[in-house]
Structures are given as C-alpha cells and as structure tokens.
Symmetry: C2
Subunit: 214 residues, 2 copies
DNA sequence: AATTACAAAGTGGTCTGACCACTCATAGTT
DNA sequence: AACTATGAGTGGTCAGACCACTTTGTAATT
C-alpha cells in the first residue's frame, strides 16, 4: 500500500494519492484539503514532498491555496490552464490566424451537425433565436448558442478556450448587415439546408473581417 | 528586477524566470538546464523553492529530470499533459463520442481547406500520397499528413491531443476497401473537389466504424 | 599503452527543523 | 455589546543535512 521508498519519484506518487484523497473524501469544488503538515503525516512523507505535489496541482489550477487559510479544491475551468497553454503549448503558433481558423472549423461543424440532425431543425427554438436578433446581441453569444445546440461539449470547451486567445472580434455587437446574414443563416439552419447555411456563415465572416488584412 | 520578497507566490515567479532563462539561453529540446543548486543561487532563492517550480513543470511534462544527471527540457508533445487532462479537465466529457466528433470536425476542415486552396491541389505531392497507399499504411498516419498539409499547426496539436483519448481505431492498418475510398478521396483532393472529397471521407468513416455501435 | 577499478564530484530526491506572514477564532478588555 | 489583543493554525521560504545515482577523472593493474 505504501510504495514509498527508493527509486521512483515520490512526489508523483503523492499527486496520485491526493487525487485519491480528493475522491475518497468527496471533497467538492471550493472544499478544503487537509493541511500540508497533516498530509505529510498521513502519507508518511516530508512536508516538502507534499508541497512539491501541491505546487504542481496549483500551477495546473486544480487547487488554490491561501496563506493562513489552507488549500482548497478549485474550479479549474478557470484561467490558469489557459495561461499555461498560451505560454508553452501555443508558443510556437505564431500567427493568430490558426486560432481563428480552428475556431471557424468548430463553428462550421456545429452548423453542419445541426443541419444533418433530424431532430434539431424541427424545433421551434429557432424562432426564439430570430427574435433575439431584433435586440442588441453579441457575436460570441449567438455563435456559442449554436455550438451548445450542436451538443458537443468538448468542442464547446475547446472553442471557449480558443476564444480567449483570439483578438476578440467577438465581443462587439452585431450591426445591421451581420444580423441580416444571420437571419438567413438561421432560416436555412431551421430547414437543414447545409449548403446555404454555410454560405451565409462565410458571408458573415467576411463582414466581421472587414477591418483585418491577414 | 527582483520582485522577490513578501506577499505573492515566489514559486510562480520562478516559473516565469525559468521560462525566460530557457528562452534567453536558447535551450533546445533535450538540452540541459542549470542544476537546482545553481538556479537557487542565480535566482537568489532557496533550493526548495526552485524545486517546487521545477516539479510543477515536470508534472506538465515540460521538463524531464534524471537523478544524478540533471534537468532537461523535454518534448512536451509527450504524455504527461494528456494524462492530466484526461483525469481532470475532461472528466465530465463522459462520452467518447464527443472526442470522435471533434476529431472528425478537424479532419474534415483540413480537407476543405486543402480543396479551397489555390496552391495545394496543384502540387505533385498527391501522387506520392497515392503511392503510399500501395504499401501498408496506418490510418492515423495518412490523416495526420492531411492535417499537416492543411497548414494549421494548432489544429494539428489539438487533433494529436484528442487522438490519445480516442479508442484508437486509428492504430490499425488500412484494408483494401479503405484504401479504395482514400484513393478516390485523394483524387478529388488533388483537383479541389470539396463535395466529392468529403463524401469519400464519410464513406471511409463508415468503413472504420463497422465494429462500433455508438 | 591500454584497460580496469575505484574514488570523488556533481546531481536530483527527500527529510527535518526553523522562521516568517497571514488568517481566524477566541478570550479579554472596554 | 462592541472592540481589541492574543495565540493557534496555515501556507511560504530557507538552510542544512543525508541518500541514491551518474559521470568523470585518476590511479592501479594488466
């Protein structure tokens, strides 16, 4: 039960143990972990070893630690990970172009998925959607809705992640022309006309890129 | 220059410093970092603090350490990060289905990108591709090539990451029928016929999914 | 001269004990 | 009742000590 001693990376073992502990004790997001000193005693290792494991998890944003208070399980759908990915993983992806391209791939796929679904384009949600376009609406809000409806949570997560790297042409409100394109897009989405839907999507993209040169 | 003292997370600062050091000293993948003791002295912090930073980067798979030898910058397109993501980040993405769907989205987009490119489908690389199909060839190898050609490094990275979660229907060799579909796919890719290319892609996917029920 | 054997230096891995800075609950004061 | 001071508990950091392991240089052997 205690593969403590020599040879291989104790602190990695502690990371495992911590994951187990979090699971076993059913510690919820925001919940408190035992103190470093207590963990050291319970796991029969030095405090520094426990700390190395904890610091690793902290850098990942899995836990959060507050001096004088303790260590807490954090909601890791936060920022840490994004920053890390940006500095290390994405470091050599020099052009923001890839980010935009990949986002558009996900967006288009959502549209296509919806079009090909027998169920989705029969629902009346699309009318509610069209109503939304009457009001002030953010670009990112409506495209996010589309991805949500396409029912691919993973794609949504990735899209969300990428959005934070993008130059944020998504944060602005739609103008009249954009809304016009979207109305046509939604209309075709409703009846499952993939070709036309994608076509209007591209048209919309051209409108939003009016400023950019890349 | 030295925001050492009190208040905020020294070890996070060290992580930054290390990143800078790696960049400044132009340490390549596989290259050696200064020893922990030397780093401690150069950065004017205790060795344990340096270690906390190093251990974090190790858990991320950014560095690799060998006892008695030293610390090395590692090729982080390896495994660590994937395992972590699988246990923490992707924990609530229950269905493997999303993984497959998202991968296919990226794959299809690569195909579409290539078709729409004026340059790509005029090159003769496609003949070499067709030759490859004569030999034994892994499914993942050929689809990876496609994504590489589409020239979106970010998409490639994400695809690579996802592949490691997939049930690996990619690791097997192509059978005769699959090769047939791919030949047709490539032929259309060469002339930029998006419709047909995607169509044959879908056909291929049907062939590979013969075992699955989902 | 070449090979082997051994010792030393250097490195990461871990533990211990000691402070510091901070938070919080509580006892004590007003 | 409201406020204040104290102390216990917690994370943050450091220094020093071993240990296990690898590499390297040197001395002994062949």
């Amino acid at each position: 039960m205690i593969p403590n001693n020599n040879s291989r990376k104790m602190f990695l073992e502690i990371v495992k143990q911590l994951r187990k502990l979090i699971h076993d004790e059913n510690i919820a997001v925001g919940g408190k972990l035992p103190s470093e000193r207590e963990l050291a005693e319970r796991l029969q290792v030095g405090r520094s070893t426990v700390r190395e494991a904890l610091r690793s998890l902290e850098l990942l944003g899995i836990i959060e630690t507050r001096r004088g208070e303790g260590t807490f399980l954090s909601d890791f759908r936060k920022h840490q990970l994004v920053e890390l990915l940006s500095t290390f993983i994405l470091q050599d992806v020099k052009s923001k172009k890839d980010v935009h391209t990949t986002m558009q791939a996900l967006e288009k796929d959502a549209i296509r998925t919806i079009c090909m679904s027998d169920v989705l384009h029969k629902q009346s949600i699309w009318d509610a959607f069209l109503d939304k376009l009457q009001e002030e609406v953010l670009q990112e809000d409506i495209i996010r809705e589309i991805i949500i409806i396409s029912n691919n949570r993973l794609a949504l997560k990735i899209w969300f992640l990428l959005k934070q790297f993008a130059d944020e042409p998504y944060r602005s409100f739609m103008n009249v022309e954009e809304k016009k394109a979207w109305k046509l897009l939604l209309t075709n989405l409703k009846i499952g006309n993939e070709q036309q839907a994608i076509s209007y999507y591209n048209e919309w993209k051209l409108l939003t890129n009016r400023g950019e040169i890349k």
